[in-house]
Amino acid sequence: MAANKETTGVIYKCPLCFNNYIDVPVDTFEDGKYHCVKCGFVGTKEELLQKYAEIRDRYKLRNTRITLEEQRKF
């Protein structure tokens, strides 16, 4: 897998596989798009990032601090 140079060697993961919490790297092909080795995902970097944002949306409390006292009452 080719490392992504823009993010210090990070290899992006397939957002479709990740939707089911499966970590699979995507690689760039000659068409400049990212392809998944496990499923049929193909997309640009913008599409990748958009799908990551959608995945994060499932964590509705990700930006909410819930202190110990708040958790007790939660």
Partner: protein, 563 residues
């Protein structure tokens, strides 16, 4: 090395005494050993052994090699440690330590007091998540520290004679909700793994703090004791292919999470200990056999879900309030299923340091979603020819009561309404005994018509297994009032008895007997086998709730089956 230096500096700047786990390579690295000695002497760090397989054993993971190879690896590592530091180690670890490995360590080096010995609920979901490449099966164990038994390292010892002689801790502290529902590695006390699960948003990482506080809250139910551990290898902090964020974010989240723990320590909210210090403290504060409870609330998805966990020498069990307070996971420790891992494991289950389940609603269906229901418990409530299923109703925890070795869970009452307008308000109370006995009480708080007919059927559907696929059930036998009534042949046979006193299933493969026994004689008890498309067994006990009956009590008992 650069990232190790970062960890070292951050830890010492914050005044932490750390436990540094090192493998054989570093134990033989003189320069590294000198640096570690300096940190031990100047900052009180503990140097511990990370046991690793070797090429002679074929590589892989240390708990998955032959016993003779485990012995060599332990000897080489301990000898190298003593040569390097002049004394024996007090702590050793790996992701999993099976009963064999702990026994070998303890025999060769009795000074060892603490082991990292497992990963709470790491198994099927992580295996799938790593594209079926992470062969680590360590489910059905405690989520916090425990005294591992001699015969299965995931099972807490029932008494001193049963104890393997070390204090075990999980590799990380896992989210008590999402560790059950999802990948345990994404939702754990490891900021980089949380990034891996995309649960941060750039520098915003509230979940790291919330998870720490989820564990702090458990003090409320465990006599003031809770345990939280961050265990991060340097490789996670820079150029880790699993993480999409730039390194600066990764390192900042790690540092800020440690800063939060330091702040808690400075305010007297937590105590920071090395492994060896913790083992000593644990032995002072917690006696062998003491039950542990966890009240798990969803702090990430926003679902409002609550789970209750109880772990004692008789069982580890989860109550799912989202499904009417049914049992969603049950590991029958009282059966004392014995297992070690490695190619020479006698039971043929080479891979699994998982303690088997008899109920696992995530892997084995639970409440009916498609074809039939799977492993679960419930209360079937019948009136006027209509039946309602308690799993259809949400409840929450009303009270968690600690009565020493009996732990009680009281759920908020549920009101059910039948199509003819008849209603009943029912409250479920569980009493968990240390020996594997569970008393299920259904309080009938009110009925809209005191004379209205109401039947309550306690319902237990179970099986046994290690992963999501079914095991061979042909050795299972089903009993009613002490008499064998069904040999499990996948024919879906049912046996019914009016006025029956108990029904049970004997599962020789995991040396376990499961009994459903009404405290007062039931109107009807049934026992049923399944078929290959629904490979379960079902035990039920039904009561008529007339105007004099205010509650029904039923025992769900787990017993050791002599095989």
């Amino acid at each position: 090395m650069q990232m190790y230096e970062l960890q070292r500096k951050v830890g010492h700047d914050l005044g932490f005494k750390s436990t540094i786990f090192i493998g054989l390579d570093f134990l033989r690295d003189k320069e590294m050993v000198e640096r570690l000695k300096t940190d031990r002497d100047n900052y009180g760090d503990e140097i511990a052994v990370w046991l690793t397989s070797d090429s002679k054993a074929g590589g892989g993971q240390v708990w998955l090699i032959r016993r003779e190879d485990k012995k060599r690896v332990v000897k080489n590592s301990i000898d190298a440690y003593i040569e390097a530091f002049g004394h024996a180690p007090k702590s050793v670890g790996n992701y999993v330590m099976d009963a064999d490995l702990i026994e070998i360590v303890k025999e060769y080096c009795p000074e060892v007091e603490a082991c990292v010995a497992g990963c709470f609920e790491e198994g099927v979901k992580v295996f799938h998540g790593c594209n079926n490449s992470w062969y680590l099966f360590s489910e059905g164990m405690p989520w916090g520290p425990w005294y591992p038994s001699k015969t299965h390292s995931a099972r807490p010892a029932k008494n001193y004679d049963d104890w393997a002689g070390v204090v075990a801790v999980p590799h990380l502290s896992r989210d008590l909700v999402l560790g059950f529902e999802n990948r345990n590695d994404f939702f754990a006390s490891h900021p980089a793994n949380i990034q891996r699960g995309l649960a941060n948003e750039g520098y915003s990482h509230e979940y790291d703090y919330n998870l720490c506080d989820q564990y702090r809250m458990q003090k409320d139910f465990n006599d003031g004791m809770s345990y939280y551990q961050m265990h991060v290898s340097p490789g996670w902090l820079s150029r880790n292919f699993n993480i999409i964020d730039p390194d600066k974010i990764t390192q900042t989240l790690y540092i800020e999470t440690l800063q939060y723990i330091a702040e808690l320590r400075d305010n007297g909210e937590v105590e920071v200990l090395t492994f060896n210090e913790f083992a000593k403290e644990y032995k002072k504060q917690v006696e062998i056999g003491k039950p542990t409870v966890a009240f798990a609330k969803d702090i990430l998805m926003g679902s409002g879900k609550q789970y209750y966990w109880i772990c004692n020498p008789g069982h580890r069990l989860l109550v799912d309030t989202f499904q009417g307070g049914s049992i969603g996971d049950l590991r029958p420790y009282a059966g004392e299923y014995a297992a070690v891992t490695g190619p020479d494991a006698k039971n043929g289950r080479y891979l699994y340091n998982t303690y088997p389940y008899i109920i696992q609603s995530q892997y084995r269906t639970g409440y009916k979603t498609h074809s039939t229901d799977g492993t679960r418990t419930t209360l079937i409530m019948s009136h006027g020819g209509e039946s309602l299923d308690m799993c259809d109703y949400n409840t929450t925890v009303e009270a968690i009561n600690n009565n020493g070795n009996i732990q009680q869970l009281v759920l908020k009452p549920v009101e059910v309404k039948f199509s003819d307008g008849f209603t009943a308000k029912i409250q479920t109370v569980y009493d968990f005994l240390n020996d594997g006995n569970i008393l299920i009480t259904r309080r009938v708080l009110s009925k809209s018509d005191a004379l209205g007919e109401l039947l309550l059927q306690e319902y237990v559907k179970a099986s046994y297994g290690f992963i999501e696929y079914p095991e061979d059930m042909k050795d299972i036998t089903l009993y009613c009032d002490g008499e064998k009534v069904i040999d499990y042949t996948y024919r879906n046979t049912q046996y019914k008895k009016e006025g029956g006193k108990e029904v049970s299933a004997l599962i020789p493969e995991i040396s376990t007997e499961v009994v459903l026994r009404p405290e007062t004689v039931a109107s009807v008890v049934t026992v049923r086998e399944g078929n290959l498309f629904s490979p379960y067994f079902t035990l039920t006990a039904e009561h008529i709730v007339n105007e004099d009956v205010k509650e029904i009590k039923t025992w769900l008992q787990i017993k050791k089956l002599q095989v």
